[in-house]
């Protein structure tokens, strides 16, 4: 009878524990997810943009050759393809193509010299604008100018090498799945650093070997899945959310305990946006533990205190025991 009651109480306790733990878990996540960008967005310039997408959204486009007097099919140069769906999910989805590109493009065939048009950079539109003040574009620009990427400006490096104007979308502020953000952000780097045809546009080096260069890093795959390249390759700036000062490779973070420690670097980088919502329960780096597991950054204040008290008690007992052994022996 008693055993049955004990089993019942144990069972109920386990259920209550799992509910309370699951409940807390929800609390740690963002309370209200941002409305997701979807392709259901209808641009006020949809019809205007369609004039461009009609050809630029396709690998094969078709036009009327008035000299020959017939329809011609042609391949679109891959760098000139703009995915319509991705554009309407991107940060610039509300734009008309001719907001950034010359009105002259509305004519076909396009005039050859249009290719030489000056292309805007982020700061040209976002600089000095109150609406974008919270993003600190001026600070981003200043950081970029100190980064190794800026040295390649003459060779053609620009904001667009990382932030595709037609598909870039802000990720770290809107994420509901951090791993996806990490993948998205790392793919920005890998677009050049793991793609030789893109890489050689800006570099004379004859090969790229990310995996080989990171051979020293234990559990490479786990690191790539759990942190962004910029965690180690950029300098932290408290003003902006994502550091843009990419450092020379010699200055990259190489000491494990920069992240694997109580005051982990990751709290100022990857988890910066969330760190305001500090998870309690005594974990020093609670936000990191919501998403990941980092040796050294997983210390818990309460467990630390309990372990110290138990250790002190054991040493005290041994001390008292030794004292009595010595004094009794003398008696």
């Amino acid at each position: 009878m008693h055993l049955a009651r004990f089993r019942l109480i144990l069972f109920l306790t386990l259920i209550l524990f799992s509910i309370s733990v699951s409940g807390n878990e929800f609390k740690f996540k963002r309370m209200s997810a941002e409305p997701k960008d979807t392709i259901t967005y209808v641009s006020p310039f949809y019809d205007d943009n369609e004039r461009c997408f009609k050809c630029h959204n396709q690998r094969v486009y078709e036009y009327t050759n008035e000299i020959l007097g017939r329809q011609v099919k042609a391949l679109m140069f891959s760098e000139r393809i703009v995915d319509r769906n991705r554009f309407y999910q991107s940060n610039h989805k509300s734009f008309s193509c001719t907001d950034c590109h010359s009105e002259e493009y509305t004519k076909f065939p396009h005039a050859g010299e249009l290719r030489m048009e000056q292309i805007y950079n982020c700061i040209d539109c976002h600089g000095g604008d109150e609406k974008f003040a919270r993003f600190h574009f001026e600070e981003i620009e200043a950081e970029y100018k100190k980064s190794v990427h800026f040295k390649l400006q003459e060779e053609g490096f620009s904001c667009w090498k990382c932030h595709g104007p037609h598909d870039y979308k802000i990720s770290i502020r809107n994420h509901t799945n951090l791993k996806e953000t990490i993948l998205y952000d790392n793919n920005i780097c890998l677009n050049c650093h793991a793609n030789f045809s893109h890489f050689q546009l800006l570099s004379e080096k004859e090969e790229i070997s990310i995996l080989k260069k990171h051979e020293w890093l234990p559990n490479q795959a786990t690191h790539y899945k759990s942190v962004r390249c910029i965690e180690c390759h950029s300098e932290i700036n408290d003003t902006i959310l994502v550091s843009h000062l990419i450092k020379p490779k010699e200055e990259a973070v190489k000491r494990c305990n920069e992240c694997h420690s109580q005051n982990s670097l990751l709290m100022s980088t990857l988890y910066k946006f969330e760190s305001k919502e500090q998870r309690k329960d005594g974990f020093f780096n609670g936000i990191i533990l919501n998403q990941s597991y980092v040796i050294g950054a997983n210390r818990n204040e309460y467990l630390n205190i309990i372990s110290l008290v138990i250790s002190a008690l054991i040493i005290l007992i041994i001390g008292v025991h030794t004292f009595f052994r010595i004094t009794r022996k003398q008696d």
Partner: protein
């Protein structure tokens, strides 16, 4: 009397050395600071040596289990339900009071009784409960892909980690107490000598 055969002594020595390495490297990892290292081992070295020592310790543990089964050494760990709690109390009373009054050891070591009841309980808890949990959780931390993502709403890795550090902590405490209780032999150094020679010196001579 010859109580500790060579394989037990070898296992015990390796176990002690490896466990010390694991304690030092484990503390180095758990309490590493951003600018200074706890103890003397750097994080990267600590991870490497912790992994190596842990794998060797696991092999040594398998050797211990196999040895216990094959040689019959396992019988010394067997607890009989009858009088166990009262025997445990007797032994506890001896350590806390009796030994200071010059009382005789309630469970002197014989060829058939290597461990007193308190030893049996702590050895079983440490070698057959904490040790396997430590090895299994350590395996999970070494191969994170084998750990379930979430359990009762909590990250599986965090639970594995907490289990690992808690077991590591208790076994470290066991080691401290074990070393101290080893000074409670016939003479303070007797039991340490036994572990080298294999011969046990009786407490009640």
């Amino acid at each position: 009397m010859y109580l500790y055969p060579i394989w037990v002594r070898l296992w015990h020595t390796f176990n002690a050395i490896l466990f010390l390495i694991l304690i030092v490297t484990g503390i180095s990892m758990q309490y590493t600071g951003k600018s200074d290292y706890v103890l003397v081992v750097g994080f990267a070295k600590a991870v490497k040596w912790h992994n190596i020592a842990a794998m060797l310790l696991t092999l040594n543990y398998i050797f211990f289990i196999a040895g216990n089964i094959l040689s019959g050494n396992g019988r010394f760990y067997r607890i009989t339900k009858k009088n166990f709690l009262s025997d445990l109390a007797k032994q506890f009373k001896y350590y806390s009071l009796g030994m200071f009054k010059g009382e005789k050891h309630p469970f002197p070591v014989t060829m058939d009784r290597k461990f007193n009841p308190l030893q049996k309980l702590t050895y079983i808890l440490s070698m057959y409960v904490a040790f396997p949990l430590l090895i299994i959780s350590g395996f999970g931390l070494l191969f994170p892909e084998t750990v379930i993502n979430r359990f009762l709403g909590i990250s599986g890795m965090i639970l594995t980690d907490i289990l690992h550090i808690t077991m590591g902590f208790f076994l470290s405490l066991f080691m401290i107490i074990h070393i101290y209780t080893c000074t409670l032999g016939a003479k303070p150094a007797s039991l340490f000598k036994s572990m080298l020679s294999g011969y046990h010196e009786s407490e009640d001579q």
